[in-house]
């Protein structure tokens, strides 16, 4: 019984860490216009829309965060092998990883913008200086919380995978959660506030992203503010639920039927979420869908 209470406590803490990780990851990637919103930021200058948005094309979010969390976990493991206190080891490993992330961010921005010289997109050095540091800070929070929850799984729950392997697995999961949940807020809504709501992105509007802000010209910190309000918390809830439910089913049901209990509960959870998703989709289409009858559309 004590074991189960301890396990549930660790599960709750890992879920909380994961929520913070998801929120920080999404804000970081949106400030850098990483993931699918990147295509429009890359396209805009080619369509004649010069902008002051940060274009940090490193990779998709899942490989990028798989990399950062694996590097952070590997460095932490190296420090632990050197008899450094585990908490200090995690902090040191993640700090060095944030430096690596920052270097990748600067080279990606400089490279992409310099290769757009033909269309007259300038390199804005102030954008590089002010955005990179902000993304590094958010990346540190996301990496540190994710590597910490991996450490909890390994050290407290006795997960058989070594720390770097857990790092890459949960890093990819974190990137996928942020990419799938948080990006639509930025890529489908924030970039196209000048288009009719729910209209999608017509070909004629491709690259015509919003470039001017409430006051002055929009930069990626404005997008970070927007993401912190909507996309970030949504990604946090998503990744937090993934980590919490995954550990919850393992801790509680693994002793049932030589491990089959956890697998059956996992399948049941997938079914429950499929039903919830379907219900929400149908409800949203009925409530907001603008495409009910073609005759209603004024041309």
């Amino acid at each position: 019984m004590e074991n189960i209470v301890f396990g549930i406590g660790i599960t709750a803490m890992a879920g909380a860490l994961a929520s913070v990780a998801g929120a920080a990851e999404n804000v970081e990637s949106d400030i850098g216009s990483q993931g699918d919103p990147n295509s429009q930021v890359q396209l805009a200058p080619q369509m004649g829309y010069i902008h002051r948005i940060f274009n940090k094309a490193i990779a998709g979010e899942p490989p990028a965060y798989g990399a950062w969390c694996a590097i952070g976990a590997g460095l932490a493991m190296g420090f632990i092998a050197l008899q450094v206190n585990p908490i200090l080891a995690l902090i040191l490993g993640c700090a060095i990883t944030a430096f690596v992330q920052g270097v990748y961010a600067t080279t990606a921005y400089l490279g992409r913008i310099a290769s757009l010289a033909k269309f007259g997109q300038p390199v804005y050095i102030d954008i590089l200086k002010s955005m990179t540091t902000v993304t590094m800070a958010h990346a540190f929070v996301a990496i540190f919380t994710t590597v910490s929850l991996c450490y909890l799984m390994n050290a407290a729950l006795g997960h058989p995978f070594p720390l770097p392997l857990l790092g890459i697995v949960w890093g990819i999961a974190l990137g996928a959660a942020g990419s799938a949940t948080g990006n639509p807020f930025y890529g489908k809504e924030r970039q196209y506030q000048n288009q009719k709501f729910g209209a999608g992105v017509p070909v004629a509007a491709s690259g015509n992203i919003v470039r001017y802000a409430e006051a002055g010209q929009r930069n990626s910190l404005d997008n970070g503010w927007f993401s912190a309000k909507l996309g970030g918390p949504a990604s946090g809830v998503c990744f937090g639920l993934i980590v919490f439910l995954e550990l919850w089913r393992t801790v509680l049901f693994e002793p049932v039927g030589h491990g089959w209990g956890a697998i059956i509960v996992g399948v049941l959870l997938i079914l429950v979420f499929t039903i919830i998703d379907r219900y929400i989709e149908v409800w949203a289409r009925k409530t907001y869908g603008p495409y009910a009858k073609p005759a209603e559309v004024k041309t």
Binding site: I58, A59, A70, L75, A114, P122, V123, P162, L163, P164
Partner: protein, 277 residues
């Protein structure tokens, strides 16, 4: 799958880069064997230098392949390269001194099979596919072997599965603690980033190659920090200093080249609207 042949050739021919990468990485990895001959560990950083040269070759291969519009992002090519390379590299570590050669040959075979499958079975029909994937698998194996030799001081299986500063047995060794995952992802990011970050209408080969070297040295910094867990303090410090110096030089050079190629280099200036808008 559309095939848009927009392969712009760079100033340095691809075959020259193959030669530099292949010979350079093999020489670099074999120089770490001086550790065994002399009984010291300070020659480990040569593995990293070998890996950097393989990555330079790899960035140009990715450029050649991805210019055809393979239907996925550039990063996927890097993951494929290292995914096939790591199998060959791990198998080759059994063969002691011959490991780098065995790894190279084996990876090339794995790559050729994957390239054949992509072209004939998945029906992608890209002319450079088989050659590119063969090259990339070989680059993956050589890079992983180079970084591994740099971190653990050896490319043979026995030291990789036994040596460690921690007395925790197998679970604290290079393979047992999964440090190879870090090497895998560091290499995969470093091979895809140079082309992914510099693609566009005003792409320049020299800028991409400098970025490849910069990425390689950046990965070396992380590997050097990890090598403190496996090597003597002096050897790890030598690796760290070499990595930091190399990274700093090539980072500054890359910024210089970006400044050369950029349309304008502005600090805190408003949007410059092009004429006609």
């Amino acid at each position: 799958m559309t095939v848009s042949a927009s392969v712009g050739a760079g100033a340095i021919p691809h075959n020259t880069l193959i030669g530099v990468g292949l010979v350079g990485s093999l020489v670099g990895i074999y120089l770490t064997y001086l550790n065994v001959i002399t009984g010291l560990q300070v020659f480990s950083f040569f593995g990293g230098i070998g890996a950097v040269l393989a990555l330079v070759w790899g960035s140009n291969t990715i450029k050649t392949l991805c210019s055809y519009g393979i239907g996925t992002g550039v990063p996927s090519a890097g993951m494929l390269s290292f995914g096939s390379g790591v199998i060959a590299m791990l198998f080759a570590t059994r063969y002691g001194v011959a490991a780098p050669i065995v790894g190279l040959v084996l990876a090339a075979i794995v790559g050729a099979i994957l390239g054949y499958c992509a072209n004939q079975i998945v029906n992608m029909k890209i002319p450079v596919m088989i050659q590119s994937i063969t090259e990339m698998a070989a680059i993956g194996a050589l890079t992983i072997m180079g970084y591994t030799a740099m971190a653990a001081g050896s490319f043979s299986m026995i030291p990789l599965m036994s040596a460690s500063h921690l007395d925790a047995g197998y679970w604290a060794t290079f393979i047992g603690a999964s440090f190879i995952v870090v090497v895998f992802i560091l290499g995969a990011m470093a091979i895809q980033h140079p082309f992914n970050a510099t693609l566009g209408p005003s792409w320049q080969q020299d800028r991409m190659l400098y970025l490849a070297v910069e990425c390689g040295f950046l990965s070396m910094i992380v590997i050097a920090v990890i090598s403190f867990a496996f090597l003597s303090m002096n050897a790890a410090l030598v690796s760290l200093v070499v990595s930091l110096a190399g990274w700093l030089y090539f980072y500054m050079e890359y910024i210089r080249l970006s400044k050369r190629d950029a349309a304008m280099w502005l600090d805190a200036k408003p949007i410059v609207e092009p004429e006609g808008h």
